[in-house]
């Protein structure tokens, strides 16, 4: 056992690889939040009057709300006046080609393994890169627009497709939904906007890459994705941040709308800076993600690999409004050192014969705490609704905790809801079996963890799956309690 403890120690001390800072000129607001901040952001983005009003309304409501205390996480109180709410890399106003992007910036994304160049065409991924508060560039725009797909930054969408933005913004996550959603509604700076027209199947994966670069800033991005009738889109999201001693806040809102027979697949690999091994620094990741299956036979699938952030508070949810609609949630959440994660999903069955499936795998190591919190609600009208949930937790070491809070509320007698959960450590017999066959303990653990997460990782698009697997290996391999 001492061997594996040693391995565990080595692993837990492995450094965060994406922790560099890019030295680029920033255009940022001073710290603090008041109505003027909101007005400034809105003016900076040249927003129409209705959006400013919408923001101000959100801000006023936010002032009256209280920070939620129910999540199973502890962190010092956030001083919302000590945050920079707007920070953008200085650059020319419009970019006609990628060559015009600040070379420093491009180098940043190269370092992160995301090439903004068109050479990426080979892999067929369109990328929208968001650094600090604003979207830097969106690739493959022309090609996508031939099909009628709109894929651009939120600011651009506000200018060019105000009718769509106005119709759907806040329709899934209302302003008053929760504390952080209200804050985001007031101060969101940018994000991605995507619209897939009727009957179109997006030919490539759409992707957003988020990066917090500047110090003391908060990142508040807003993503809105609309899949019109019979369309399909697969959307990827990735994120990293530099190593800093202070905690930074990330409060995003993601809204998905799937019309009749549309399908949205939303995948996230979340790797914000988790803080150092003593729990210093790291990102507070307070995110509201929700999708609505507005039409019949619509499908929304969330897949997430959560390895970063000091504190995570995130519940990607599905409102299954259309009859026969389907919601899925696949999650791997890994916490190490002093990380805390309270994550899960909500499946609200409203329509008839709606189905949902939840597969959640939690892995806790070090001094971390990992909670699954989920709600499956079957409303009165949801005849024949079906849910299957499975949440497993794996514990590594005796200093960590794994918690499960599943809420199941059933109001219809023709529905079937199943939930099962297990908590255990990696079996000594499994390790022994591997050892016996010449596989070293460290490798055996990686193998077992990968096998444990396979069900979720299989849901990820190819290149993301590879990245996720590497991430898992870095976070955990070899750690047996």
């Amino acid at each position: 056992m001492s061997d594996s403890n040693k391995i565990l120690e080595e692993i837990t001390s492995s450094e965060y690889k994406w922790g560099f800072v890019t030295d680029i000129d920033n255009d940022s607001l001073p710290k603090g939040l008041n109505e003027d901040t909101v007005r400034y952001i809105s003016a900076k983005k040249n927003e129409p009057e209705w959006l400013l009003e919408w923001r101000l309304d959100a801000f006023r409501k936010w002032l009256k709300m209280e920070e939620p205390i129910w999540p199973n996480v502890t962190y010092p109180k956030i001083d919302f006046q000590d945050i920079i709410y707007y920070s953008a890399p200085k650059q020319k106003v419009t970019l006609n080609s990628l060559d015009e992007i600040d070379p420093e910036l491009r180098a940043t994304f190269e370092k992160l393994g995301i090439s903004l160049d068109e050479q990426k065409r080979m892999t067929g991924v369109a990328v929208d890169a968001v650094i600090d508060s604003v979207s830097i560039t969106t690739t493959f725009k022309v090609k996508l627009s031939e099909l009628g797909i709109i894929f651009c930054s939120m600011s651009e969408a506000v200018q060019e497709h105000p009718e769509l933005v106005r119709k759907y913004l806040g329709s899934v996550v209302p302003v008053t939904d929760n504390y952080y959603a209200a804050l985001n509604s007031a101060v969101f700076s940018d994000g991605s906007f995507c619209y897939i027209p009727k009957g179109v199947r997006s030919p490539m994966e759409l992707s957003t890459y988020f990066r917090i670069n500047a110090a003391n800033t908060g990142q508040f991005e807003r993503t809105l994705l609309i899949a019109d009738e019979s369309s399909y889109v697969s959307y990827l999201e990735g994120c990293t941040a530099p190593v800093r001693d202070e905690n930074q806040l990330h409060a995003a809102v993601v809204e998905l709308v799937a019309m009749e027979k549309a399908e949205i697949k939303y995948s996230t690999v979340q790797n914000w800076y988790p803080g150092d091994k003593n729990g210093k620094g790291g990102i507070y990741n307070f995110v509201t993600k929700r999708g609505i299956c507005a039409g019949d036979y619509a499908k929304i699938s969330w897949t997430q690999v959560e390895t970063g952030s000091a504190v995570t508070w995130k519940y990607p949810s599905c409102i299954l409004k259309g009859d026969h609609s389907i919601g899925e949630f696949y999650s791997v959440a890994v916490t190490n050192n002093y990380q805390q994660a309270d994550t899960g999903t909500k499946m609200i069955h409203i329509g008839k014969n709606t189905k949902s499936r939840i597969v959640s795998k939690g892995i806790s190591a070090g001094h971390s705490h990992n909670s699954y919190r989920g709600l499956v609600k079957v409303m009165k009208r949801a005849e024949g609704a079906r849910n299957y949930s499975q949440c497993d937790s794996l514990l590594m070491g005796d200093q960590c905790g794994a918690h499960t809070f599943p809420y199941i509320e059933v109001e219809n007698n023709t529905s079937t809801v199943e939930h099962e959960a297990t908590t255990s450590k990696i079996g000594e017999d499994q390790i022994f079996y591997c050892n016996q066959r010449g596989i070293a303990t460290e490798k055996a653990v990686a193998l077992i963890v990968n096998g444990y997460c396979k069900e979720v990782l299989n849901q990820l698009p190819m290149e993301f799956a590879v990245e996720a697997q590497k991430l898992l290996a870095i976070s955990l391999e070899g750690s047996v309690g």
Binding site: V378, G401, H403, Y407, I408, E411, N413, V417, E418
Partner: protein, 425 residues
């Protein structure tokens, strides 16, 4: 409205303090009343009471600790039970030694006032965290409670049956029976708790049973809740285990109004085992809420929990099972299962099987299902000429059987089977 009952209870406490019987447990009770005063009655804003609303119950006016006028005949009908047992009778929450059979071998059953004060003081409500104000409320008025003290190495063969009787013929009654069960080393006993009311007004009972299991002790507990429609029953049970002790708790809820069971088990030493079983068969506008907490504080303990519910009419069911495995509790095995069947369109169920685990070398699992009677089984029976109603009953019976099968006392099981048969008619 809600403040009224609270205020009158606090007032009642202050009046009682001037009477001679108030010397009993005075510090414990004072602490409890201030906890209750601070917390008040639980509301749906309280996470543990999210789905159970006491508002309508506490809005009524109650007679508190009122004297009952039961005739000998009434008592006889109310305490009828086809089982050879010792009867411990509470009337409107107050232990009545004259009505009870207390000359039992191996066990003493006495009111707190005259029993071994050391034992009462050392165990009753000791180190209770008053996170639920209903427990605090009971403890604050626990002067008329009873001590069931099972002597070391004694096996009490006959079940000890506690009857919580309420006389609601002339007024609404608020009753708070308190029981302390101490099972000494290597002793064993069976304790049954039954609540029954007479009349058509509302009975609101807030019971508290504190059981202490010493080394190698064994306790079987049965809570049988089958009362009038107007009976609102909150039952708080606390079971504290010492080394190598086993407890076996079964909660069966048949008729009643609002029923809330808080069953907290602390496995406070190594090699303890706790079994928790429950069955709720609801209809009409019933509301049954089972909250269980198994606190694995020490290593090498085992807990196994099975709760089943069948809900008909407009009834609502709540199950909240928490398994808490502390850092030191390595080698814990904890299992939990909750299965619900909804028979009607209006019935609903809220279940939350919860695991909180701080140790790594554990095996814990929980499962919860909600569904309807298996259509294939139904078809099988129908194909063999069994009518729909009968087939339904057979299947419901089969579901209930899983839990009934775990009732170890033969006479008691036969009695319960008959009661369930009656209910399914």
């Amino acid at each position: 409205m809600t403040t009224e009952l609270k205020e009158s209870l606090i007032q009642h406490f202050n009046t009682l303090e001037k009477t001679p019987s108030s010397a009993l447990l005075v510090d414990t009770r004072k602490e409890a009343i201030s906890a209750f005063q601070e917390l008040g009655f639980p509301t749906t804003k309280h996470e543990e009471w999210k789905y159970t609303n006491l508002k309508n119950t506490i809005a009524k006016t109650y007679a508190i600790e009122s004297a009952a006028t039961f005739s000998a005949e009434d008592i006889k009908t109310l305490t009828a039970l086809p089982i050879d047992c010792y009867k411990v009778i509470f009337v409107n929450g107050i232990f009545s030694p004259s009505l009870s059979t207390i000359d039992a071998a191996g066990v003493t059953i006495e009111p707190f006032q005259t029993s071994n004060q050391e034992v009462v003081k050392n165990y009753f409500a000791k180190n209770l965290p008053y996170n639920d104000s209903m427990v605090a409320l009971n403890v604050a008025f626990a002067t008329a409670g009873t001590l069931i003290h099972v002597k070391a190495k004694q096996h009490v063969a006959k079940p000890i049956v506690c009857f919580y009787l309420s006389d609601v013929r002339s007024a609404n009654v608020f009753a708070q029976p308190s029981v302390l069960v101490v099972v000494e080393e290597a002793a064993s006993a069976t304790v049954v708790e039954l609540n029954r009311s007479l009349g058509s007004n509302t009975a609101f009972t807030n019971a508290f049973t504190h059981a202490i299991l010493k080394k190698e002790a064994y306790l079987e507990q049965y809570k049988i809740q089958n009362d009038i429609d107007n009976s609102n029953f909150v039952h708080n049970s606390q079971i504290v285990h010492e080394g190598k002790s086993n407890s076996y708790t079964t909660t069966i809820t048949l008729n009643g109004g609002l029923v809330r069971n808080n069953l907290n088990i602390t496995l406070g030493a190594e090699h303890c085992e706790a079994y928790l079983n429950g069955l709720y068969l609801e209809k009409g506008a019933q509301h049954v809420d089972n909250h269980t907490l198994v606190d694995h504080a020490m290593p090498n303990c085992y807990s196994n929990e099975l709760y089943k519910g069948i809900l008909d009419g407009k009834s609502t069911g709540v199950f909240n099972g928490k398994i808490w495995v502390r850092k030191d509790a390595q080698k814990t095995n904890a299992f939990q299962s909750n299965k619900n069947i909804l028979l009607s369109k209006e019935a609903s169920v809220h279940t939350k099987p919860q695991l909180e685990i701080f140790a790594d070398d554990v095996k814990c699992s929980h499962g919860a299902t909600t569904g309807q009677l298996d259509p294939e089984a139904m078809f099988y029976l129908r194909a063999r000429g069994v009518g729909e109603d009968k087939a339904k009953k057979m299947l419901v019976h089969a579901i209930a059987f899983d839990v009934l099968d775990k009732v170890k006392h033969d006479e008691l099981r036969a009695y319960l089977e008959q009661e369930i048969e009656e209910r399914l008619k």
